[in-house]
Symmetry: D2
Subunit: 424 residues, 4 copies
Amino acid sequence: MGAAGDKIKKEMTERRRDLHRHPETGWTEFRTTAKVAEILRALGYTVHFGSAFIKPEHVMGRNIDVDAEKKRAVEQGADPKIVTEIGDYTGLYAELDTGKPGPVTVLRFDIDCVDANESMDENHLPVKLGFTSVNPGWMHACAHDGHTAIGLALAELLKEDQALKGKIRLLFQPAEEGVRGGYAMMAAGLVDDADYFIAMHLGLGKPTGEVYGGVDGFLCTTKLDVDFKGFGAHAGGEPQKGRNALLAAASAALNLHAIAPNAEGATRLNVGVLNAGEGRNVIAPNAHMKIETRGETDELAAYVYNRAEQIIEGAAKMYDVSFTITKQGEANRADSSPKLAALVSEAAKTVEGVTCVGTKRPMAGSDDACWLMKRVQERGGQATYIGIGADTAAGHHNGRFDFDETAMPIALDVLYGTVKQLNG
Amino acid sequence: MGAAGDKIKKEMTERRRDLHRHPETGWTEFRTTAKVAEILRALGYTVHFGSAFIKPEHVMGRNIDVDAEKKRAVEQGADPKIVTEIGDYTGLYAELDTGKPGPVTVLRFDIDCVDANESMDENHLPVKLGFTSVNPGWMHACAHDGHTAIGLALAELLKEDQALKGKIRLLFQPAEEGVRGGYAMMAAGLVDDADYFIAMHLGLGKPTGEVYGGVDGFLCTTKLDVDFKGFGAHAGGEPQKGRNALLAAASAALNLHAIAPNAEGATRLNVGVLNAGEGRNVIAPNAHMKIETRGETDELAAYVYNRAEQIIEGAAKMYDVSFTITKQGEANRADSSPKLAALVSEAAKTVEGVTCVGTKRPMAGSDDACWLMKRVQERGGQATYIGIGADTAAGHHNGRFDFDETAMPIALDVLYGTVKQLNG
Amino acid sequence: MGAAGDKIKKEMTERRRDLHRHPETGWTEFRTTAKVAEILRALGYTVHFGSAFIKPEHVMGRNIDVDAEKKRAVEQGADPKIVTEIGDYTGLYAELDTGKPGPVTVLRFDIDCVDANESMDENHLPVKLGFTSVNPGWMHACAHDGHTAIGLALAELLKEDQALKGKIRLLFQPAEEGVRGGYAMMAAGLVDDADYFIAMHLGLGKPTGEVYGGVDGFLCTTKLDVDFKGFGAHAGGEPQKGRNALLAAASAALNLHAIAPNAEGATRLNVGVLNAGEGRNVIAPNAHMKIETRGETDELAAYVYNRAEQIIEGAAKMYDVSFTITKQGEANRADSSPKLAALVSEAAKTVEGVTCVGTKRPMAGSDDACWLMKRVQERGGQATYIGIGADTAAGHHNGRFDFDETAMPIALDVLYGTVKQLNG
Amino acid sequence: MGAAGDKIKKEMTERRRDLHRHPETGWTEFRTTAKVAEILRALGYTVHFGSAFIKPEHVMGRNIDVDAEKKRAVEQGADPKIVTEIGDYTGLYAELDTGKPGPVTVLRFDIDCVDANESMDENHLPVKLGFTSVNPGWMHACAHDGHTAIGLALAELLKEDQALKGKIRLLFQPAEEGVRGGYAMMAAGLVDDADYFIAMHLGLGKPTGEVYGGVDGFLCTTKLDVDFKGFGAHAGGEPQKGRNALLAAASAALNLHAIAPNAEGATRLNVGVLNAGEGRNVIAPNAHMKIETRGETDELAAYVYNRAEQIIEGAAKMYDVSFTITKQGEANRADSSPKLAALVSEAAKTVEGVTCVGTKRPMAGSDDACWLMKRVQERGGQATYIGIGADTAAGHHNGRFDFDETAMPIALDVLYGTVKQLNG
């Protein structure tokens, strides 16, 4: 039987559905942050916002209207006082300091949604039960609503457990999508003293009942925007006066895709979006590209990224235009620490509802929890990324995505069981 | 002294300002067309709309919401009944048939505005006098408001003149900007019986008081949109399944700009706008390009256009994507008939306010009146494009453009004087 | 103890050095073929040349002056009568038909050299012992001289062995470098009746004493030449009349290198050589490219090749030039049959000088023996590619390449031992 | 009647044919220089070679084997002693100093041939009369053989004329083709003291009998070679280690051809030759391009050249390769001084055989005599480029080119008549 009572499970489901109904895309999670703060404070936690939690100078991919988003958050039920307290940057952490000697264990829960329109199909559970997104274009289609609810339930269980030792820190991360927030949290020093670090994800293509103590095979990735700035001129009357940003971008795009493969492992580059020009008869004075690079290792990722920089600089030179490269997100790669992963797997074996436990499995995506994992490992600690299987109605990021809520108590029990082992 | 009395001149200015306040971009001129119709009918003319005036199958660069535009036009003062009469296509013609044997003379007045935001500078005359555009993004920045007002004043003078012989047809053309409407008017046969054709433009870089009986040196131009349609695929997970429209467009753009110059004369090509892709991590499934080709002669224009077609087809082939080329506008070139130009110049010499008369001067732009000019000349008639100098506050198409209204009576007198010569 | 007596070993070394001194690049092996024929005939074999051995219509990458090469071969010691017998195509096969029922076993030995200049370094063994290449630009830098000598020694051993059953066929293949000759041999039906097929290579990065019963992991590859034919015109005087093959090739090259990676496995494409144009002031009327495509599987190879074809066709279309694609070589992939590989490994264990026997090891190159291997396997036979370790002075194809001649008797014993098992 | 007697005319024809039979391409004119020196010395002139005549540091497009060419020259009849005197650089000047006060007049005669194979058609005059080129690939197909012979005949006439005043300097220029030698002659100061400068060309598309006192409309041009140096790597095994010079060149070529046209006048750029790469399976470590830029004015030429530099640098940057740009030739533009041109025309009117005299006519090519013309004009002198019509059998630079030799005495008389006017 699970550690969590029926009340906690019920609460967890209700909170997940409330969050699902009010999804907030990366860096706009003012309502979510306020709700999380409210609940944690009610449990007796002190919460930490702003630069105690995240270093603004390392924030990536953030371009929002803070006032408008705060206004919306309040309209959607956030406590106005807390919204003011939050400041400009969303997310928070809380810490349980038992006062007893023991290890420092940090857990990460991501709270942002994805940019997608939720399906209105009548078979889509949120439609049936009436908790679809109220924010068009935003949707919890990657289970972060579940992660947040699980984190809150765990906070409750931990608070009630008098046997724990050491410190347990709970991170509620903004902007995991696009791997934008993780580095700035790491830079704030939130895991510098950690003995253990744990991140967790529901789903990942595995059914409810399967639990993986530590997933591997993350891809390093960098999201970058490139802007070329040239000079517009009438294409008929004085073409020689233009500095053509469109052609610089076109040339860059072609040559970026021609970066040589690397015999050391897989690499990827995609210019996914190119927008250039102002009018048919004007030499295009500007161009914007959205690019993504990937590599199986840090070295491969660096290889592609460095080649990309050379090409972009060269293309700008060719057309005598200026350029800026803006990192919009970045994740490195980390592997789960084998001992900690094994400990999680062991803890999972006794959890109700778990039918299959694996130690490791490869993961073909990116998560900026890796910054935190690697930081902990480099300083001598252990880190793992737990995969909690969950049946899903459609693939991650799809408008019809929905996950089996019975996976939530499993996740909660696995996490609580693991913390009991580490800090018990 | 001019033929027009003070009343007509005052009316002309008032109408110009009313039109300036209610600019309508190409194919949306429902209010303008209704107003013109209303005035011409009041003068006793029968007006002709729709397929009698313009052949829909030859219309280019038209992508509008007819109902919404008609609704707007009525809200801005158009007579609802006339708006209904107009049908889907704006513009109209009216004819003065004297009943007496004589030549057929056709005059063209363009009525659309340009896509520009009007300046709110306090020195801008429309600001001072309170007749700035009520339609954001649209502005009469190329003097077509003046042309329309002149055309209406001429209609009044002609109606009052009992001495005229033959027929005089007045064309009020939509969508001259982007050279989109002229060909479709020609295709409707409006000049097939013309002995004389006259188009006219204010400004053209010359001061008030200068008049050119016939300008020359128009550039042939084609405006084309290109769409590439490929297939999106996850750039990390299955890049091989994508068919990359962005790279097709980038490759096309580069090679289009590399079309060889032509020793026979000047040519131009500009890819002014390129928009491609949906998301950073998706192989771009679509791309859109706005292109303009030009040539000093029909042959040179055809050379560039044909090379462009080859390159676009080749780029699509390269990336296994489909493509469509849509002509959004086209103008050929025509030269003013020397005899008719000389006759206009002669007529201009006696006009009040004219300080300098030239027979010919080169023009470095395009106008789809050339379709009408060439048609008339090919069928044995004479055609000219008259330049009426006018001081301007800024260049054509600029948000601060404004022209000296005293050029309007000059234009009116030149036109009326010319018609008197031809049909007197 | 090895099966081969000292005489055979000594002969093997002498022949290898004679062949090393007289290297012949693919399709020019007239001296080598004549020498092999002479020796085999002396042993009592009948040899088969020409279309009995190789199908001319499937020959790739051959562009030689037959008469000049035959003349050279004779000057370098080939028997003029045999050179005449050979006809236009080099290489041959001989067969030992025991007259007794038994399996058909086919062995392949490649005889051509590589295009490289031999090192004149005093530490280079052929320099020390005076058997460096007499043919500048040609060098046995891939051990085919050893392979040929081993094949001849094996022929001698087989002829002396009265206990053998079935048939044993020995193929002496021309033009393995560039994977040009294998397909045409397969097309001649030389393995259609084979129960067993064996190819063998010395070196492959492994030291003397190691033997691998069957190597795997060949890469599929296609070597292709592309010619664009346009039209030259004076670049200053009439650029518009040119059809620019140089730009077609440049555009093709860039876009070929931008072929998307394939998530199913590694692929490669290289435009290694591009030559275009005739003069500085002439629009380039021609362009030639040497290209290589690779893939880990037949499907991946086909993916790259098919994309390459589309791009080449598209580039030609862009510049209104014609194009031809000529395959200059091609190899598929095949895996060694596990049972046969194991049998070879077993046989190797008893061979003198063998210190380590492996069953399989990956190979990161291409060999057109794969056509023969796959053919045999598809028809129900077994095939293997044996790796015989040999210390080398430098990498394969390097001008300082030299292999440890003591690996030759090991290879001979492994092959003879294997044949004894199969046909004994 | 012409000033030159029959003897001089006969000599002139004989010399022209001897030179035609022994053509020498730019910078290899050792036989021609020696012959010219021999004849001038026989007439009593002192000749000046080497750095007195040409500044080596400004020599362009010279890549020859001096010893081999001198050897050839001697074999073809040059005086070995003079060949030794010449030094490394061909060409020479001689001066007639009358000792009497008067102007300094400089005349330029170009002596090199073009790179072309002479036609062996039986109708080709040199075939008929047996004076075709003995140097395969080299041919006097631009009449410089005639120019040289005329220069020598003029030297003789001048020497005999006791009435002349001032100084007359005769320049025999090497390497006019490819506009390689002119700048270096100018740099040697040969026209710094000139009051008058005269260059002359036969043919130019006009028939025998027409004379133009001063042609205009030269195009500025620069001939440049570009070398990219990257790094070779095995395209299959370690493509990431390569730095691809072929793709740098391909990208440069495409973008060079996409340099925007200039509304101020005609410009041209041609990448006429591109050679890159070493082998099919090696990332190309090198690339070479032969490029030509042109412009109607110095400013237009500079516009294209500067854009080209940016693009080449950018392309190198893109592929992390180094590059060098080497000027292989350059000509500016100059216009004939009207007064001097008129004086020449006047002089031409009295010349026997002249049927038509023009003052100016446009010329659609380049000649590095312009460096000398412009230099003289900038220092206050007058300069002209005389066009002497001559019927030709085919276009300049064509293998069947031949000019009507009766144009030579006309040219001689025009030049002599002009000098008489200037220095008489």
